[in-house]
Symmetry: C2
Subunit: 212 residues, 2 copies
């Protein structure tokens, strides 16, 4: 009876793919409505699956949230670290630093929708010990790499600086602008990010190539 397989009622996916899809759907929900939109049923609908499937892939909401966190931060920050640690990368340390900075203030990354996700995650990190641990480990390692590169640049220029402090303050400045932008889209644009962050770095390291 060939005619019986007109159209399957649902599509079977490889577990890894489905899991990744669900996490992405969860991120879209977070982005749209913050933690208030982080509901199992809504996420299932966003992913186009039934509610029942959620509990098949995640034992509870917290597990999903942690996965979301890792998908959002891990992927992103680890990519930056990889760039930072890429000794084979072309160009001088200063040029590499500029490239990293450009990646950090990439408009695609700093768009308000992304910040909605971050605000939700930060709000959870402060309250959720599991997430907090994960965050600290990852973030410290990121800052360390950034500080190292800054230190290398400073050394090449015979400047005495505190790379750890510069890295931390640079990231704080960018995060703060990111926040202001999310709360009031007219408050900050990409040129502001660029100007503020380069100005800050050049204060400590001297002139950097500032393209565009």
């Amino acid at each position: 009876m060939q005619s019986r397989r007109k159209s399957p009622r649902f599509r079977r996916e490889a577990p890894e793919k489905r899991r990744a899809d669900l996490v992405q759907a969860a991120i879209r929900c977070l982005s749209a409505g913050g933690m208030a939109a982080f509901k199992m049923e809504r996420i299932a609908a966003e992913a186009g699956v039934s509610l029942g499937l959620m509990s098949h892939y995640f034992t509870d909401k917290n597990e999903l949230l942690t996965e979301v966190y890792q998908a959002a931060l891990y992927a992103d920050v680890n990519r930056k670290i990889a760039d930072l640690d890429d000794k084979a990368a072309a160009g001088s340390p200063a040029e590499r630093l500029c490239r990293i900075l450009d990646a950090i203030i990439d408009p695609e990354y700093l768009k308000p929708a992304n910040l909605t996700v971050w605000l939700a995650l930060w709000g959870e990190i402060v309250v959720n010990p599991d997430l907090r641990r994960a965050h600290r480990t990852l973030y410290r390692s990121y800052l360390k790499s950034l500080a190292k590169l800054i230190g290398t640049v400073a050394e090449g220029r015979r400047r005495k600086v505190n790379p750890v402090e510069i890295a931390r303050n640079l990231q704080a400045l960018i995060d703060g602008l990111f926040l202001e932008r999310a709360l009031d889209r007219q408050a900050v644009d990409h040129a502001d990010f660029r100007h503020a962050s380069y100005e800050f770095l050049e204060l400590h390291l001297g002139p950097l190539a500032s393209p565009a």
Copy 2:
């Protein structure tokens, strides 16, 4: 029968006082557990009243949240603005700027518990149009006052600067550090706040009195 009034089962409070108490209790809840702890029943318990009283004072949760926002930000920011606009205040513009800055980075204000409240509110502002409008109005007026004072200082020193940008970036830097501190208490201490913010301001305005 005098003996009947042994001990009243509850105390009647003036509406304004009770309302303020409830808002303060709500802030304590936010501080303790973020939005997840922002539950009517919990807030009532924190304030030592029954759940039923909540709906007597606030038609719904959103109204309470808005009040919390105003109590947290309004009170605080408006106080700063008042200081800023206080022409009669003693001292030179530079001295007044230093006083304001010290108020902004007051350890009592930057403590992590406060940030938990702010993270929750920010997360809501991004998602809640009412709150967003309130925030923008208030925050813009705050930055405007701060920029004005910065402009006055710069003018007195014959420096050409962009006060609006400096004010915004200064606040961004502080907010960013505030955030880092909340996510990792060991990452930033009060001396870091002081050092970073004074360094930033002095870059644009020249030396400022930096006590202690």
